[in-house]
């Protein structure tokens, strides 16, 4: 991969903002380019290779889940005192990844960050797929999976309701709301593009399917007017969710009384971490995807650089949170809490802690350097570090706190089993399979939205042109 010449040119000019769409900036060309991926008779060979691997991993996931359900939670490494292990670590990990999509779609939309347009579709799709992986864990990690629906307030003849004091119940509501709104938001945005695909469809099947999901969109002014109103409302609805869902996830820990969990910093710390990990995953997937599907002109280096800036900012926030935790552990004077933090850094899981600090705090600092920030290989490696680091963060929080809580006689050590590992690997399979299918069958870039940031849409000058930057 090399940086293409056009963007290099723009990068050299400090006053000019790089354009959001490169190449021939023609409205029809955008449609051609994006729809071309979907309409190509055959996807690239790499796609076949990739989906073969990822679907095999997905099958492995289903195998592991079946084995788990048939045998018991004991097939995982969970024990006493680590009653939660990789199940919850992975749940929080995937929920965190699910944050970038909504953030990019909703918050950046409200903030009129137009650079979001070419990546929001893929990021939203990743959100949904990550929520699928995340949602899998809480439902299979319970001891009696066949009655997991008791978590929902289903009216029943015994008038048994869930316990509304339990953060786990809040979690059920938070995650399911987030999943629903994310799905609606994503689907809403897809409607005009589905109509484009419908109109360009050459087979009956395509016409029928895209037509069905396009909901009769015909691009009338009234449609556009309502669409944009609805999109704005959904964006406004989704925005608090970005903050709420991971705050509520953090309540699972913060509301308990396990030393190391019971801290008030958790909600903001978790949200920052979630955005951090979400952007990390978007960079990890988009860097190869734009190469694979030839979307370099739509997803430009400018986009990637902006995302790297977000990674740098949130990574530093996370680092600050780590430092604050230690300060409060010392300042708060609670001996159990003080012990937990010392134990994290110097106890049996010291390796996980310091690896986490390296990945989450040290590695993103390289992004201060513009050359690194705009180097595809460098950002790819750093984003991988971010993914690993954020997984380790959840591991450190869940496992180190549980394994050494109040009574030393109950202390233990957590070791995963092969089922833990295969299940986790399988969720990547599921995530990537869904993502590959998405890339092949749905417009990866929001065609209609991208057109609005083309020069053609701003005949009197606009983003990336003569006057330069007033659109932020």
């Amino acid at each position: 991969m090399t940086v293409d010449s056009t963007s290099a040119l723009h990068l050299d000019e400090p006053y000019a903002r790089p354009v959001l769409v490169e190449g021939d900036r023609d409205i029809a060309a955008v449609t051609r380019r994006v729809c071309g991926v979907v309409e190509a008779p055959k996807p690239p060979k790499a796609w076949y290779v990739a989906i073969t691997i990822t679907s095999a991993m997905t099958v492995m996931l289903f195998g592991c889940v079946a084995y788990l359900i048939a045998t018991g939670v004991g097939v995982w490494g969970n024990n006493s005192p680590a009653f939660w292990g990789w199940d919850i670590v992975n749940f929080v990990f995937w929920v965190g990844i699910a944050h970038a999509g909504t953030l990019i779609s909703a918050i950046l939309f409200l903030l009129r960050q137009k650079w979001r347009t070419s990546i929001n579709r893929a990021a939203e799709a990743m959100t949904l797929f990550a929520v699928c992986c995340a949602g899998l864990y809480p439902s299979i990690h319970v001891g009696r999976i066949w009655v997991a629906y008791w978590l929902f307030p289903v009216p029943n003849q015994m008038q048994m309701w869930p316990n509304f004091r339990s953060p786990l119940l809040w979690d059920v509501f938070a995650v399911s709301t987030y999943a629903t709104v994310s799905l609606l938001f994503w689907y809403m945005g897809l409607v005009p593009d589905l109509a484009t695909l419908r109109d360009r469809a050459t087979t009956k099947l395509r016409k029928g399917l895209y037509g069905f999901f396009a909901l009769g969109w015909c691009g009338s002014a009234r449609h556009w007017q309502r669409y944009e109103r609805a999109y704005l409302i959904l964006a406004a609805l989704a925005t608090p969710l970005v903050l709420s869902v991971h705050s509520v996830v953090s309540f699972d820990f913060a509301v308990s009384q396990v030393p190391g969990w019971h801290t008030t910093i958790f909600p903001p710390y978790f949200v920052a971490g979630a955005i951090f990990s979400g952007f990390g995953m978007v960079v990890t997937t988009m860097v190869p995807a734009r190469e694979l599907f030839g979307l370099k002109e739509l997803v430009t280096l400018r986009h990637l650089e902006n995302m790297n800036k977000v990674i740098l900012a949130t990574g530093s926030m996370v680092g600050l949170a780590y430092a604050t935790e230690f300060f409060i552990a010392w300042y708060g004077g609670n001996p159990y809490e003080r012990f937990v933090f010392l134990n994290r850094a110097l106890g049996p899981y010291w390796w996980a802690y310091w690896l986490m600090v390296f990945c989450n705090v040290v590695a993103p600092q390289f992004l201060w350097v513009k050359k690194i920030r705009t180097n595809l290989w460098a950002m790819f490696v750093i984003s991988i570090f971010v993914n690993i680091g954020m997984w380790l963060e959840r591991f450190v929080i869940v496992v180190t706190s549980l394994t050494r809580d109040y009574l030393p006689t109950s202390w233990g050590y957590f070791a995963p089993t092969w089922v833990d590992i295969c299940t986790f690997a399988g969720t990547f399979g599921l995530f990537l399979t869904l993502f590959l299918l998405f890339c092949r069958y749905l417009p990866m870039v929001a065609i209609a939205e991208v057109k609005t940031v083309l020069p053609a849409a701003h005949p009197h000058g606009g983003h990336g042109h003569k006057e330069g930057a007033h659109h932020g």
Binding site: G74, S80, H141, S256, P408
Partner: protein, 1013 residues
Amino acid sequence: MSPLNQNEPSSSLHAAFGPAPKADASGFSRRRMLQVMGASLALASASACRWEAEEILPFQKRPEGRIPGSTRRFATAFETSGFAAALLVTSYDGRPIKIEGNPLHPLDRGAATARSQAAVLDLYDPDHSRGLVQTFQGVAYPRTWKEFDPFFQGVLAKQRESGGAGLRVLAEPSSSLALAELRRRFAATFPKARWVTWEPLSRSNELAGAQLAFGRAVRALPRVEASKTLVGFDCDLFVEHPAALAAARGFAARRDPHGADVQRVWAAECAPTSLGAVADHRVAVRVEQLLPLVLALEAKVHAALGNALDASLRPNQTAPTGGFLATPAITEFVAALADELVQRRGESLVVCGRRAPAAVHAVVHRLNAALANVGRTVQYVDDAQANEPEPATALAELVKEMESGAVECLVALGVNPVYDAPADVDFYRGLRKVALSIHLGDYRDETGRACTWHLPRAHALESWGDATSWDGLRCTTQPLIEPIFPRRTNLELAAALVGETTLARDLVRAAVLPGASDAEWQKALHDGFVANSAAAFVTPSVARFDTPPVAPRALQPDATNGALELVFAADPKLYDGRFANNSWLQELPDATTKMTWGNAALFAPETAKALGVADATLVKLKVGGRELECAACVVPGHAVGAVTIHLGYGRTAAGVVGGLDEESVESVGFASYRLRTLANLDTALDLAVEATGRAYPLARTTDPAVGDEIGQSGVEERLHELLRETTLAKHLANPHGEEHAGHHPALESLWEHAEPGAVRWGMAIDLNTCVGCNACTIACQAENNVPVVGREQVLRGREMHWIRIDRYFREEGGATAMRFQPLACQHCESAPCEQVCPVAATVHSAEGLNDMVYNRCIGTRYCANNCPFKVRRFNFFNYHKAIDAAGSEVQRMLYNPDVTIRHRGVMEKCTFCVQRIQRAKIQAKNEGRPLADGEVVTACAQTCPTQAIVFGDLADAQSRVARLAADGRAYRMLEELNIRPRTTYLAKVTNPNSAISAGAKSESANGASHHDG
């Protein structure tokens, strides 16, 4: 039908099902074994007791006193190594489900050891022998009693002609009068035959010591409750001693800090024991050092007493000096102890463990006599086993005879010498020269498999018998159930030996209560013992005797590799190995090491360091040309230069739990008997240890934080708050000091709490009297159908015990002290588990119980995470899976029908024995009266020999538990979390000697440290 002529379908069973299927050692798949037992169903439901020999009638008329669905209790007794444990067994619909101590018995008084209680599991154990087996040319054939009886009588008739010249009986020691009578008749019938007694954990040192001191074999009855100073030399007084329960109770009675004359306990021992754990002063010495230590102590005592004593009470020799005796710790210990003993003459008690050399026993007797303790704190009775030859020597002679071919027929009654004989006595080789060997045993064990015949022995709960307890009281054993399979007792086979056909019951009656009326007999059965039958006390006088010279090596403070001492200890759980197939005992955490499913060589940290041995690695023990590779476990407080290993492990034919070569079930633990020879039955000198460095995970329920500095510091920091402790002087000066030891701001709650109900169930646990005997854990396991999970699961930290005993090591002034803290669900009033359960599966009852609703639980495990005590247990698998399987009907009989069996995926924990609460409430309601204090007793509280656990209603200010909760020592653990636990702990109060504690203070200036190991 006559018990001697039962003919049951076990042969058809074998024919129909072939050899038993394979199973592994894990607790739950072994139950597949049960699939073979389906054919025996009819028998399982034949549940009448063996009261009458007549045919069992169907329940057209309900038997007297029997109410369907209610329980009945019968007094009985188990005999181990010749001494009775007096028990009260609960029977539900004719099946025994729970064993408790006999409250009427003067020694046991309602308490029972972990082993006695676990015996109920053996009754239903699928491996417990179920049929006769004849082995011919290496092939096992199922046989019936109908086939065996005429054959055996034929053999005996032939032997009678020769006066029994080729007949030998090898039996366990027994105090049964009925058996003794049969033995007399055996001697008369077969004048040339011999009856040999074999016992791997014999009391021969003790008897030889008494012989040396008194010229007479007597045994000492410690009166712990009468002693102000209790001194133990390598004596596991509260667990291993046959009168442990009485001793523990006596100890507890003297430890009330507000009582008069609080007892002080001193211990000198090798590996930490129950007595050392509660000792106010403890020194760790090797077993070989016991003799110089007691001699030095005796010399000090005599120096203080002067010439007032009778000459016979004075030692002949000068006491050894120097060496380890000159180390500050020992010098101080001996000097302060001697002073105190002299001051408290007549109020002190010196005891000595089974393993100590005979000379130590003798000196201890002399010391007690010199201190005028005899008749006050120690009493003597004549020992019936006095006339038996030393068992190991007798066994060796027998093996020689067997090898010479002089033995034609060997009858082994309950013994297992193929497994537990000294390593240089090759019983197996001898056995191959014996044409006919008959083994009667609970299991088809190593000996059962090597003999030509194996006969299944009835479980004690299926047997008639008698035995005497330590005080000589005659106890009766009565069956609670017809033998589930055709099995016989030692007594019945002995009767067959002499051609006796009288019922076992009548033999027992005639021996125990000759000529008594039916009413007297009924009373004896009801009480479980014959009133006033205890042995008469004797007052033997000490004769002058010499002790063997002290070897110079014994005085060495430490020992180098190659000169180490190897100590063979009885296992607190498996005893000599006979309980190896009992999964409750296998999974019971050892009090000191917290180890389950196995044994290990125990090293002091200093010794381990010197030898380069790491905890949980394999080491090679080499002694006397023999070698054993086994795991190493580092135990703080163990004597330096010695290595202790428990006997009873490494069974090769115990069953699918303990190890069964035939079915490739790996042995549990290491076969330490392989290092034990005739000359080295108790200790072996000149042990060499070779570290291999290979890791061997030990299934410990508490992971030691050894070597982890952060962990250590964490334990140190919190131990004084979790397990509060003070000294008697401090406590008396500030009686509420411990209550207020924890500091926290005023506690506020997020929500309003429900009004406390009219009844508030609560528990009080006295840390001062817990001796760590583990009886509560087994009591709970039996009462609450707590599953066994197996070694692999324990290694993963998934043990299921509802009550556990937390053990801490505390190091002060160079000495290591062990501390116990029994821990079950604390039933917090503001329970953290309840707040986080998303489906409200754990909720509070009106009486303040933290109830677990199994049906509602979906298994998120959040409650367990939020439980600061980690007392919640999760069913990671279906640990009861096999009980639904066809063929497990016998095993299913074990379960307490009042307690739900938990499915996989649900959380469980201590319920404060809610079923017992309900039972007591229903009974009180039926009788139209309020519930009285003490009517509801949880299983753990019921069996606790020291009554350290008290249960009751906190709302009743007069109840025992409420008064304890208001005590100055009372505190609630982790109270600062605002969880308001319903369990109160009473702080431990040590009672150090002021002469030593003053010295220790200056020493502990370098810092007291606690660690968990």
